[in-house]
Amino acid sequence: MLLAVLVGGGFAEAQFTPPELAAEEPASPADATRPDAPAAAAPSTSGLGRGEAMIAAMRENIAALEEQATELRKKLDDNTDNDTALVDLRLQLETLSKGVLQRAVALGPRLREINARLEQLGAPPAEGVSEPEIVANERRALIEEKATINALTGQAEELSLQVSSDIERIGELRRELFTNTLTKRVTIDLTLAGEAFAAFLDEVNQLYRSVASWVRFVLRFKIEAFLGATFFALLAAAVIFIGGRRMVGRLIVRDPANQKPSYLSRVSVAFFSSLLPAAAILVFFIVALSFYHGFNVLRGDILLLFGALARVTTIVFLVHRLARAVLAPFLPAWRLVDIATAPARRLYWLAMAIALVTAFDHFATVVSEVLNSPLSVTVAKTLVASVLVGLLVFAVGLVKPFEGEDGLRRWPLLIRIPLFLLGASPILAAMLGYTVLARFVLHQIVVSGAIAVTMYIGFLAAQAMSDEHAFANTLVGRRIRRAFALDDAAMDRFGVAAGIVLNIAILVAGIPLILLQWGFQAQEIFASAWKVMNEVRIGSFSFSLLALFGGILVFIVGYFVTRWLQGWLDDRVMARGRVDAGVRNSIRTAIGYLGIAVAAMIGISAAGIDLSNFALVAGALSLGIGFGLQNIVNNFVSGLILLAERPFKSGDWIVAGAVQGTVKKISVRATEIETFQRQTIILPNSELINAAVGNWTHKNKLGRVEIRIGVAYGSDARKVSDILLELARNHPMVTKNPEPFVYFVDFGDSALIFELRVFLFDVLNSLTVQNDIRFALYDRLKAEGIEIPFPQRDIHVKAMPAEAFDIALPAEQTSQKAVAKRSRRSKPDPDAD
């Protein structure tokens, strides 16, 4: 405060600009529009004027806030043992803290202005050098104003710190209160019993009187309102139950005829049949109570009683449904745990008994509070209830639930010991006089137990959902399958994802609930959860879970948008435009890659991942990775080029090196080709770009086929040519333009070689055409008597010794035969006769 006054005084001095300044500039400090006043001076003075008003207002605000804070602190000191007051104060303090921050933030723009202005004025002059007085004055004024602002912000900061520490103190006080209440001890002795009994009778009387008086009151004065409220309450009940049954009836009903329900359906029925009816009852109670309250039918104490009644009924109902769900005492096929039937029934009744006793105890406590009964009654009631519940829990521990070879086996030790301890604790606590602690234990057994069992069922459900084919058979799964037309593998993946999501949801919902039961305050839980979600620091590397989820969500959204865009473009735009199938495929794939890349970038950006730390490591590794990935990147880029340039499209017949076949699919890394032997060959794209690729069906399906034939020397060449042309022209698959052409290739070693060259409409028919023509040609040549010779060789025998022809023949025959033996085509032997 003192500082503010001091600073305020200094500032007041600056407000009165020295007379010479006023004389020099005819413009008054508030006049900002004189054109030939030095441009530097005019705006600043008006700025100063604005600033000082704001600062004064701000100072008042902060003073007011400080007063508020002091008031609240005083109230805090007065109410250190009043939990509700503490909660209220905490809320007020938090609002105050926000207010302080807001005020301080409002000073920010002015500070910015001042800083900008100071920058404009430039650096202060060095020693000895003087600057124009206007500038010096302004600079001084600005610096003083800045100092004031800083001081004010400092004040706000201090205030904020104090308020925060007060809030912390409230938290501590409440925790202390809680522990103190729990550990308050009451001496128990026999006099208590007599006192308690008398007081109990008294209390019953009082309760009867109280309720009776209220009933009389209602009957006399509020009968219509009461009936009206009852009517609406019943209406609400009808809506909730009938509507609920209609909507989710199938989910929560166990079909007794079904002897082997799947695990998932068992678990999901268990889950829904416990939660949904309990939720329905809760909603009904809330609605009914609000109607009654709204119609002003309830008295204050009756309202409390009804509230307690509603609470305990809901909890008991929930326990009933849960126990039925898990133990399924009457429908063994639907049981979730492996327990024999008789023990299951026993356990069910035990659970119900525990819940009922605890419920009675709670209701009785509320009654005692409302009627202001003496402490002894409460202690006695809690004692009775604790002993009963303790014994019941013992009984649970003694049950033999599992089927064994000879009769039933007991619980494993790991479960029995905690159960016995759990049974002993309320008894001990109550006997020793720690009444509140005993009640607390009872409460926890029932409520935390119920929550834990619900969570357990939920976990089982999540696990079952991740099993193979399980998700696809559920209601939700079927809907999703229809909506997105997914196949089995995709549904399984969805199931796994659904399982994970369910697990997380259960943890997020269940753990805070349990913590709340244990006295942690909602604010604290939320604050620590928020801190964990927002920042997880590991050394100098921190990331935020929340931001990470946000990033993943953004990516998923982007992915689906991309798929939708692909589909839309393909179906609506390109199909209508009758674009070629190959082009469509290319565009579709390209958009897919682009969309996913963009989604990934935005997702990573949203996730707040700062990769600068990785940059160093990545830089070092990049050399190695680069070398290793060079082929893949080569293929990837080649794939992109293929998509863009389209030297071939899906369905073309291409020849790549030694491989030829039909293109099936062009992916980013490789292209799939199917050979005519129906073998799929996967060619890396780089090979298709770096080497020559032949495409039979690039522009059209036209193709040329050559059929070679050799006819014997001596045949009529022109006749052969005519035959060939005739056959070619008669074939329907041969084009007339370009027309078939017979090419007399060569005078071969053994034959006259002709080649028939025909163009086909569809080069894929080449084998058929060649077959047809060759068959026809063979028949025709045979018919015409034109010979297709074998490979021919002329042999010239230069000299043959006579002994070669030595055979036992008559002399004249010998010489004749010798002559005849000479090959027909031999050259005439000059030595022959």
Binding site: Y593, M601, G608
Partner: protein, 87 residues
């Protein structure tokens, strides 16, 4: 799945977080900000060129040159010449 691999390979970006205020040190030497958040004061030292996220839910910041500012958690602070510009 191939698509995912290549899409993520193709799009790595250094990120700007979205949920807290950030401060960037534009000077050539390390600067210290004094941050009062909730119930405690702490010092935040920034190396030259470093960007740090802090203050997700409102705080008071004292700049190296003594200026004091209140932030709500969505601003960017740039430190130049010892003084901070809040955007």
């Amino acid at each position: 799945m191939n698509r995912f691999v290549f899409a993520t390979l193709a799009g790595l970006l250094l990120a700007a977080p979205a949920f807290a205020a950030s401060a960037t040190n534009g000077d050539a030497e390390a600067r210290t900000l004094i941050v009062t958040e909730g119930d405690g004061r702490s010092e935040l030292t920034l190396n030259p060129g470093e960007t740090v996220d802090f203050c997700p839910s409102g705080c008071f910041v004292t700049m190296p040159n003594g200026d004091r500012v209140a932030l709500t958690g969505s601003e960017t602070v740039e430190i130049r010449g010892g003084s901070g510009n809040v955007k």
